[in-house]
Symmetry: C2
Subunit: 417 residues, 2 copies
C-alpha cells in the first residue's frame, strides 16, 4: 500500500465523460489498496472563459478579485469528480485550497505555497476516503483566495506530495511520458523510464512541454518522486510513464544522453563590432531587460583588435520589440558596426546527466550536424546540455540525425524498461 498523489490537468477533466474516466482510474488504484490524494485543474477552457469575463469588465482587473473568479473553475471540478466517485460507490471528499488548507503568500495571481496542513487529509486517508483537492489555488494568512499562476496545478500536486511525504506524485497529461525526442519528428523516439530532475529541467526549458518547470524544481527541492503518465490510456493497461527522480541510482551511471530537445520560438540578434570593454554586455542587455524582454542564450566571442560581436536570443514574439530597443539605443548606450536579427532560427539541444563525466560529446554533435551541412550560428553549453542555434529549416533533420548518432533509439543511453 502506497500513498499516491495524482494530478489531472484541464484536458483530462475536460468533459463529464473524461471526469468519469478519471474516477474509474482513481477507483482502480483505491481498489488496489493505495491511499489517494487527487489534484485537479479546471475543465479545459474554463479558466480562459472566466478570465475573459474579468477582462471584459476591466483592462487591468484587480488581482485579488481575479483570483476569486479563477479559483471557481477548480472548485467545480473537485465537486464533479467527487460526485463521479460517489456514483462508483467510492468514498471521497473534495477540498478547495482554502479548506485543505494550502497556505500561500498574498501575491495574487502568482502566489507561492508556504505551508500545507495535512491533518484533515490524513484523517480522511486513514478512513479509506479519497481526498480530492483543487489545484492552482490556496489561501493567504488573511483568508483571501489566491492562485498560483498558470500551470500551478502541477505545483499543487507536488507540494501536496511533499507535505504528505507521498510515495509518488503522478502527473497525468496527454502524453505518456518523457521521450528521447518529439515522436512527431523522430518516430523511433523512445519513452524514458527514468530521468533526473536536472535533465527534466533542461528538456522542459528547451521545449519538451510536459511539466511546468516550477513544479519540477519544487519536486527536486523536496525530493518528491514524480511520474508523468497519460490520462488517455486504458485504465487497465496503463504504461508506467516516466519517473523523474532525484536519485542518480546505479543503473543511471551508464546514462550519457537522455534526449534531444528543440525550440522554434526564438529569434537571434547579433550586435556586430562593439567595443570589447567592461560593461558592454550591460549596455546592450540593460535596455532589453528594461523593456521586459526575456533573453535566453547569450554568446560573446573573444574580441579581436578591441572589438567583438555580441549575440543573444529572445522569444520570437518579442523580436521586433527587442530590435527597436537596440536601434534606439545604438549611439547612446553603445556603439556598433551593425545590428543583425534573424527570426528564422531554431535551437537544438542535447541533454544528459552523463555529460558530466563523458568527453567528446560536443564534437560528436558538431560533426553529426556538419555531415549534414548544417551551419552552427551559436553554441552554448552547460554541465548537462549542449545547445546550438541553426537555421530553422534544418530543425527536424538535426533532431533526427542527432537522435540516431547518439543511438537513443537503441536505449543505449541509460536506464531501460
Amino acid at each position: 500500500m502506497a500513498l499516491i498523489v495524482q494530478k489531472y490537468g484541464g484536458t483530462s477533466v475536460g468533459s463529464t465523460e473524461r471526469i468519469r474516466n478519471v474516477a474509474k482510474r482513481v477507483a482502480r488504484f483505491h481498489r488496489e489498496g493505495h491511499q489517494l490524494v487527487v489534484v485537479v485543474s479546471a475543465m479545459s477552457g474554463e479558466t480562459n472563459r472566466l478570465l475573459g469575463l474579468a477582462r471584459e469588465l476591466s483592462s487591468s482587473p484587480d488581482p485579488r478579485e481575479l483570483d476569486v473568479v479563477a479559483a471557481a473553475g477548480e472548485q467545480v471540478t473537485i465537486g464533479l469528480l467527487a460526485i463521479a466517485l460517489h456514483d462508483l460507490g467510492v468514498k471521497s471528499r473534495s477540498y478547495t485550497g482554502a479548506q485543505v488548507r494550502i497556505l500561500t503568500d498574498s501575491a495574487f495571481t502568482k502566489a507561492r505555497i508556504l505551508e500545507i496542513d495535512d491533518q484533515r487529509m490524513r484523517k480522511d486517508l486513514a478512513e479509506g476516503t479519497i481526498v480530492i483537492v483543487a489545484g492552482f489555488q490556496g489561501v493567504d494568512r488573511h483568508g483571501n483566495i489566491t492562485t498560483l499562476g498558470r500551470g500551478g496545478s502541477d505545483t499543487s500536486g507536488v507540494a501536496l506530495a511533499a507535505a504528505l511525504k507521498a510515495d509518488e506524485c503522478q502527473i497525468y497529461t496527454d502524453v505518456d511520458g518523457v521521450y528521447t525526442a518529439d515522436p512527431r519528428i523522430v518516430p523511433e523516439a523512445r519513452r524514458l523510464d527514468k530521468i533526473t530532475f536536472e535533465e527534466m529541467l533542461e528538456l522542459a526549458s528547451q521545449g519538451s512541454k510536459v511539466l511546468q518547470i516550477r513544479s519540477v524544481e519544487f519536486a527536486g527541492k523536496y525530493m518528491v518522486r514524480l511520474r508523468v503518465l497519460s490520462s488517455f490510456e486504458d485504465v487497465d493497461s496503463q504504461s508506467p510513464g516516466t519517473l523523474i527522480t532525484y536519485e542518480e541510482d546505479d543503473d543511471m551511471e551508464q546514462a550519457i544522453i537522455s534526449g534531444i530537445a528543440f525550440n522554434r520560438d526564438e529569434a537571434k540578434i547579433s550586435v556586430m563590432g562593439v567595443e570589447d570593454k567592461p560593461g558592454i554586455a550591460y549596455a546592450i542587455l540593460g535596455p532589453i531587460a528594461a523593456a521586459n524582454v526575456d533573453v535566453d542564450m547569450i554568446v560573446q566571442n573573444i574580441g579581436a583588435s578591441g572589438h567583438t560581436d555580441f549575440s543573444f536570443t529572445v522569444n520570437r514574439s518579442e523580436y521586433r520589440k527587442a530590435m527597436a530597443v537596440l536601434e534606439s539605443q545604438r549611439g547612446k548606450s553603445f556603439e556598433a558596426r551593425d545590428i543583425i536579427g534573424d527570426d528564422h532560427i531554431a535551437k537544438v539541444s542535447v541533454v544528459g546527466i552523463g555529460m558530466r563525466s563523458h568527453v567528446g560529446l560536443a564534437s560528436k554533435m558538431f560533426k553529426t550536424l556538419a555531415d549534414e551541412r548544417i551551419n552552427l550560428q551559436m553554441i552554448s553549453t552547460s554541465e548537462i546540455k549542449i545547445a546550438v542555434v541553426i537555421d530553422e529549416k534544418y530543425v527536424e533533420l538535426a533532431v533526427r540525425v542527432l537522435h540516431k548518432a547518439f543511438e537513443l533509439d537503441k536505449g543505449s543511453h541509460g536506464p531501460s524498461a
Copy 2:
C-alpha cells in the same frame, strides 16, 4: 448616511454589461455617502449549467459535493462585480459565504443560516469599502460549503441585513415593485409604495412572484425593512420601489385592500358524498401527503344527512398523480359517491391588512363577481385575504373588475407616493 444591503438576482448580473450596470448603481449609492453590502446570485443560467454537469455524472449526486459545485457560480459573480467596481475607482472586497462567514447547519442543498459574523464586514464598511457577498451559500461548523436552496440569495440578503442591523435591505429584480395587480392584466394597476409583511406573504403565495417567501418570513421575523426595486431602470432616475415593512404606521390605517392576486397553476379535486365523521379529512389527505403532493386550499361544507363534500386544490402538475392516489384509496381509506377533478380553474384573492377591521369586503367581492356572472366554486378566507376558485377562463375579467371595484387604480387603498 445609511447602511444598505442590496441584493441582485441572476438576471440582474446575467452578463458583464449588466454587472457593469450594477456596479454603476452601487457606486452611486456609495458616492451619496451610504455604507453598502451587496449580495449577488450566480449569472443567470449558470447554476442550472453546473447542476446539469453534476447530473450527467450521477442521477443522485452527493449533496455535499453538489453544494461545492453550485457555490462556484456565485463566487464568479462576486469577483466580477468587485472587478467592475475597482474599474470605476471604487474600493470593494468580495467574500464567499465561508469567508464572511455565514454559518449554516449541515443540511446540504437546503441549509439554514445559524449565525453571521459581522466583524470583517464592519471593518471594511468603516474604511469606506463596499462589501460584496456571495448569496445562496454558507459554511457549516466543519468548514464544508453549503447552499441555501433555490432563491436562497434573497434569504442571504435579508440575513445579512438582520445581522448588520442595516437600515434597509433592497432586493433588485426585474420588476420595480409590488403592484395592486399584475399590470399585464390590469393596465391601471398601481405600484404600492408600502406593504406589510403579512400582505406580501399572501400576495407572494398567491402568485405575485417577486420575492422568495422564505426571505419575506425571515425579514418579518428579524424586522428588516425590505424594499423591492428594479435593476433595469436608469441608475439616476430610479423609482423608490415598494417598501415591505413590519410597522403598521399611521398612514397605513386607511389601507383596506392592497392588491388582487391570482394563480392559474392549481387544480381542484372534490370528493363527493363522503361520510361526515371525525378522521375523514385525514383519510383523504393522508395518502395525498404520503405521495408528496402539496395541498393548498381545503374546503369542507357542513354535511347534510351524515354526508359531506370535501374539496381541495393541488398544483396543476400534480393533479393526475393526486387523482390516481384518490382512486386507488377509494373503498379502502374512505368511501365516496364520486371523485371529481378540474384542472381548468384559477384562484383569485383580495389581500389587505385593512380587512381585519373592515366588514362587508367579502360581500362586495362576491357581488362584483356575480355581476359578471362568474360562478364561485370554492371560497376560503384568512384574516387578511379572501380567495375564491373560479373557471380559469374568467381570471383576467375577475382581476380587472375587482381591481376597479376596490378602487385600487385610484390609490384610495392606502399609502401613496
